[in-house]
Structure formats: structure tokens, C-alpha cells
């Protein structure tokens, strides 16, 4: 919220010291006045904050019309810094998605008109929530309120398709091309099916039925040979679908990001909104992974390597307004020997 305070919204940081912080809590009520007073104080702070009326500062107020044909908002005149990171331009106009319209109206920075009649915040919500789900808006506003830059993925792919498509296909934070190539080779190796050398296969073919264990050689000099002979189960190769029709719901950028709408950088987080029911099926998750963020994994230590994984994205799991973010990472187990 701090990052938006100069735009005329409420500044919650002014509430200051009496708000109880995260961290150690008392185990149980101890019946003392001290504990009770402390609780009472922070409750009062909360109620004071909530009783504050929503102030609309006329000077900085942005005005927009609801376009009921395209179901988006059209800004009358750009004001303030919002449009550095929100909306998109089209024929000299700036347009806003429903979630952006609700967000700006709700925080008192914009007034929206329908057929030149001003709408109440409730009115804006009742119109806009026909075109985006509540879960969708919950996630959008949650990130926005924390100061993140949030962009609908559809917008990125449509408006600046070239830039975005190319970034999804390269490894971020790569140090050098050569290292990168080696890395891809290594990952492929970890993910591919092990083909034993020809001599091994001949041995299996001729004597296969006579071995009484996977460890078929008369003797082993190193354990790595033994582990290779034990290999049978592998990680399934990714089935690459050619054109990437899938896209995420939101791209999220950290608050400090130098953001340019016409040339957005690589997003910090890729978000898919789902309602809290069951975890999607594997083949659905695999589709998400195809367009997920690729991780530059340069770790040699097998544990760190497996923990960091290869590709990652975030599910925003929404249950009646409560959001839980779950990071999904695809990985494989490197050999310990």
C-alpha cells in the first residue's frame, strides 16, 4: 500500500505502533490487566481505521466510462501514476479491464460512468463482476494492495506478443550461453530414459533369463556401475505441444520493478487462479508447466538441485475470499553417486 500512497489513497502506515505484529503470541489469556489493555488498544486502532470514510480527492480523480459493448473501461483523461502499470493504449485511448476498474474505484481514485451517469462502488462491482470472477478479482487486488505490479496475461500476449513469447522460451538469469547449453543438456539427461550401452544390452539379450538379480555383472568395482544397472524407472519426458495456446492468468512483478507497458520485462511470478476444490489433474498441471517459468538451476549438490527444480509457477487457491498461494515446481532426482 505504501507504494500507492502518493496517489491519494489511504496510508495505513500512519496507524503505526499500536498494531500487533506477526510473531510471538501469548499462549493463553492470563487474566491480567496488562494483556487485556494491549488487546483493547490494537482493537481500537483497527476500528478507527475502518471508521475512516473513503475520501475521493476531486483534484486527482480519474474519470472513466464503462464500455458496455466491449465490457471494459475507457479512461477519459490520464492522471496520476496508475497508468504506468495499468490498462493498455489503443487508438489514443487508455482501456482498463474490469478488475482494474473495480480496484481503482474501490480505492477512491477513479469514478466510473455508465451512459454519463456516475456509478457507486457497489454499482461498479455489480457490473464488473459479471465479466471476471470474484476469485479473479480477489487475487488481483491482493497483489495490488501489497504493492506488486499485476498484469493480465492475455494483455501481454495480445499487445506485445513478440517480446513475451520469446521470454517464456528462454531461461531467465542465465549467466552465459555455453553454460546454459550445458545446463539444458544436463536436465535432458536427468529426465531422459537410460539406455544401457550396447554390450550390456547384448548381455541381457543372451543371458537375460539367467540372471538372478539386476546386478548381473560378475563383480563391480565402483557403485556407480551398480546403480546404473539398477536403473529402470525414469522421469517421463515432457510432451511438447507446438503452439503455446495456454496462458497464465496474471503476471506479477515485484514492487520495485522498472516497468514499461510497451516492453514488459520477464515476470517475477506467473499466477493461475483456481478455486479451492481439488488439485488439478496431472495433465492439466503439465500444460501449465509448459509455459511456466524456467529456472536457471546451476547447483551441483543433488539436494539443492532437486529442491530448486526446473520449472515453476504459482497456484492462487481461493476459498470464499481467502487466498492461499502454492508454488508448484517440477523437478527430478539427480543421481547421488
Amino acid at each position: 500500500m505504501e507504494s500507492d500512497s502518493d496517489d491519494g489513497g489511504q496510508d495505513w502506515t500512519l496507524l503505526g505502533a499500536n498494531v500487533l505484529k506477526r510473531g510471538e503470541k501469548d499462549h493463553a489469556p492470563d487474566g491480567t490487566v496488562i494483556q487485556q489493555t494491549q488487546l483493547q488498544k490494537s482493537r481500537e486502532v483497527m476500528y478507527t481505521a475502518l471508521s475512516e470514510p473513503v475520501v475521493i480527492s476531486e483534484k486527482n480523480l480519474v474519470e472513466a466510462d464503462w464500455d458496455s459493448v466491449r465490457n471494459i473501461g475507457r479512461v477519459r483523461k490520464q492522471k496520476g501514476t496508475f497508468f504506468m502499470t495499468m490498462g493498455w493504449s489503443e487508438h489514443e485511448n487508455v482501456y482498463l479491464y474490469p478488475e482494474e476498474v473495480i480496484y481503482l474505484c474501490q480505492r477512491g481514485s477513479m469514478r466510473c460512468y455508465l451512459n454519463n451517469e456516475p456509478l457507486s462502488v457497489e454499482g461498479v462491482m455489480s457490473i464488473c463482476l459479471k465479466y471476471v470472477s470474484t476469485e479473479w478479482y480477489d487475487v488481483y487486488s491482493n497483489f495490488k494492495k501489497l504493492g506488486f505490479i499485476v498484469r493480465r496475461c492475455e494483455l501481454e500476449t495480445r499487445k506485445v506478443s513478440k517480446a513475451q513469447v520469446s521470454t517464456t522460451q528462454t531461461v531467465p538469469s542465465q549467466k552465459s550461453g555455453r553454460k546454459n547449453d550445458n545446463e539444458i543438456k544436463k536436465i535432458k539427461n536427468e529426465l531422459s530414459v537410460y539406455y544401457p550401452p550396447i554390450i550390456t544390452r547384448i548381455a541381457w539379450f543372451l543371458l537375460g533369463s539367467r540372471f538372478n538379480s539386476f546386478a548381473w555383472r560378475p563383480s563391480y568395482i565402483v557403485y556407480s556401475t551398480l546403480f546404473k544397472d539398477l536403473t529402470a524407472v525414469k522421469v517421463r519426458q515432457n510432451i511438447d505441444v507446438a503452439p503455446q495456446k495456454e496462458r497464465f492468468d496474471f503476471f506479477v512483478y515485484k514492487p520495485g520493478t522498472k516497468f514499461k507497458k510497451s516492453d514488459p520485462p520477464e515476470a517475477d511470478y506467473r499466477i493461475r487462479v483456481v478455486s479451492a476444490d481439488q488439485v488439478p489433474e496431472l495433465n492439466k498441471i503439465e500444460k501449465e508447466l509448459q509455459i511456466a517459468q524456467k529456472v536457471g538451476n546451476f547447483y551441483k549438490d543433488p539436494v539443492k538441485r532437486m529442491r530448486l527444480g526446473y520449472r515453476t509457477f504459482i497456484y492462487a487457491v481461493v476459498d470464499n475470499g481467502v487466498i492461499s498461494y502454492v508454488k508448484v515446481t517440477e523437478t527430478g532426482a539427480p543421481s547421488v553417486y
Binding site: 491480567t32 496488562i34 537375460g208 538379480s213 524407472v233 522421469v235 487457491v317 476459498d319
Partner: protein, 386 residues
Amino acid sequence: MVSDDPFFNSTDSGSGPGIQLDGRFLKTTTNKGYNKRAKDVYVLPLPFSLNSLPALIPHNPLSVFMYTVALLSKPLRFTTQKRHKAYIDSTSQGTPGAFVPDLQSAMELWQQGFFGKGTLSRSEPSWFGRTSRRLGLDGGELTLEEITEARRAKRRKFKKEREQQQLLELKQKQKEGVLNPADANLLDKNEKKQIEDNENNAADSDAVVTKVRKEDTDLIKDGVIEKLETLHLHPCEAVFLCVCLGVLEIDGIETIQQLLQTFFPEDSDWQKYVVYHYFRSLGWCVRDGIKFGVDWLIYKQGPPFQHAEFAVSVQPSSGRPDWWWLHANMRVVNNAKKAMTLVYVTKEERPDYTKISNVAAFRKALSQYTVKILTFSRFTPSRCRD
């Protein structure tokens, strides 16, 4: 209401070996020291011995010659592996798995790759040594259970001290005023309990270690403690040792087909094995995960060296766990610094065991299965802003 009791539970998440205590209990006090010793005991990653080469001294031509000869001839010379014996428990309520009664075999299977679990121990079959020491007979090295017990005694002491500290604080706070006169009794009650506890204290913790029970004297036959403990191998461990390494014989089991039918009757049993085999064949140590509500715990080396890094739940390819279950598991598992991992087995039905007549057929059947590994962790946006 179900409450997990960390005191009583044989479950143990934080059994970091080697905690500083009064020296009577522990020989090694740092993790490093413990690991050094662990490295000497747990040398082999599997209960399978290598055919080692003679030392190579590059500037000594004779050594180079011997080395070369050995290098060329050794792979052809047979190394016989020690075969351990196990039986299936057909009497008890069908507990699956195989039991290794011989103490020497049990120790070797544990020390070489951490297979099995002592039926009276947390993992390593250490009951005999523990009991001998408890009853005042010589029992050799200190076991993990005893180290844990020492740590827990320390924790109990800490809690007692904390309680006293908080009682003082509460007294201080109450000087400022009490909301309800009835609450003042809380203090009296606590104080009374404190005194009682202090009185019981000495008897409480030490008694456990020294007291000899009737149950114990029954164990001693002719001055020797009866060897009660056996090593219990999980069905997956039994199959891996039998078929993949060929170092285990199970009484009454003649064919692979029979082995699979006995140990993996359901598709889900087979799926668990596929995942077990995947990690084992890459050199990881795999152990049962019930204590964390998952199927497997994955260690880089094994329990004496470090905590498990991954908690694995095996899923069929069509598996759709619900988000509530996943969140509950993530909480538990992340608190113990493990990664919640779902391993999907991409083919669901178990193979037709009647067609698996030899090792080659088993390997072929197994290689029809692949896995997909995903880790899930909680993400908190407010902590990831920069």
C-alpha cells in the same frame, strides 16, 4: 480431538544427533563429530560388496602393472554376495513385509543402505544394546534413541524453567491489576502445581532409566537377555533386496511371480514400489513416511547423517488430492524443513504378474513405468516483495 504428543510419540522429527548434555550421556557433542563416526560405520551404500582394486602408486611401475592387470581381470571374476535370510510373518494379523531374525544380518542390512526397521526401535535395531545398558549389563555404543531421550529430558527441563520464569512474570503483571478475582486463583493453582512438580521432579525423569521392571527380569534367561528384536523389512525393501540386488532369500518364496503376488497385491502397492525403485536406483535412501503422513521420506545418505529432505506422496496419474489435504501436509512437512513432493506414476495398473517369470521380465515390466515429480510449497507474497 486428536493431539499429537511429541513426548510420548515414537515419532521423531528433530532427532538431531549429538546434543550437548552432561558428558555422562554423550561421547560426541557436535554433529560433525557424530557424522565422522557415522562415516566409519556406514561405509557401504547398499548391502552389496565391491571387488576393490589394489592401491595405485603412479611412479611405481610394478604398482601400475598390478593395477592394470586387476582392472582388466577383476570385472570377470565373480564376487559372491552375502545372502541374508528372512521369513514372512503368517501368524500376526497379516503384517506385510519380511522379518530378518539374525542379529548380524539385521545390523548389516541397516548399516549398508538403511534397510528395515528394528521391531522395538525407532529405526536401527538397537533394542538389545539399549536394554542391556538399561539393565546394567554392558551394551556398547550409545544409540539414537538414547540420544533423543537425553534431548527430550533437556527439553523437559527447559520447559520447567520457562514455566517458573513465566510464573514470576505473571506475578509481576498481576500487581498492575486483575480483571476477575477468580483469575487470581490461577496463580495459586499454578504455584501449588509448581511445588508439587518440584517434589516429583527427581523421581520423575531418572526413575525411568534405572528402574528394573518385572517385565525385564522375565527377559533374562541364564544371565543373558533374550534377543527379542527382529528386523522388519517393508514389502518394497524386501523386493528390492531380493530381485534387484539378489542378497535376500525369503522362506517359502520361490519365484518372482510369487514374491510380487505376496507383497504387491494392489495397484497402489506396485505404484509405491515404482517410486521406491526410482529413488533407490539413483542412490537416495528411501524410508517409510507414516510419521509425516506421506508414503516415503527421501534422504541423501540416511537417517544418521541428516534429516530427510523430501516427503513423498505417491499419486496415480489420475490422482487429484484435495487442496485441504495438501495444505495440511505442506504445513507439517515444511515445519520439519522437508519439501512436500508429489510423485505421479504415469501408468496406473500393476503389470500382469503371471507374465513375470524372471529378472529380465521384471526389469522390462518396471521400465514401462515413468514418474513425474512436483514439489509444492506455500508462497507468501508479502514476504517476497523484494
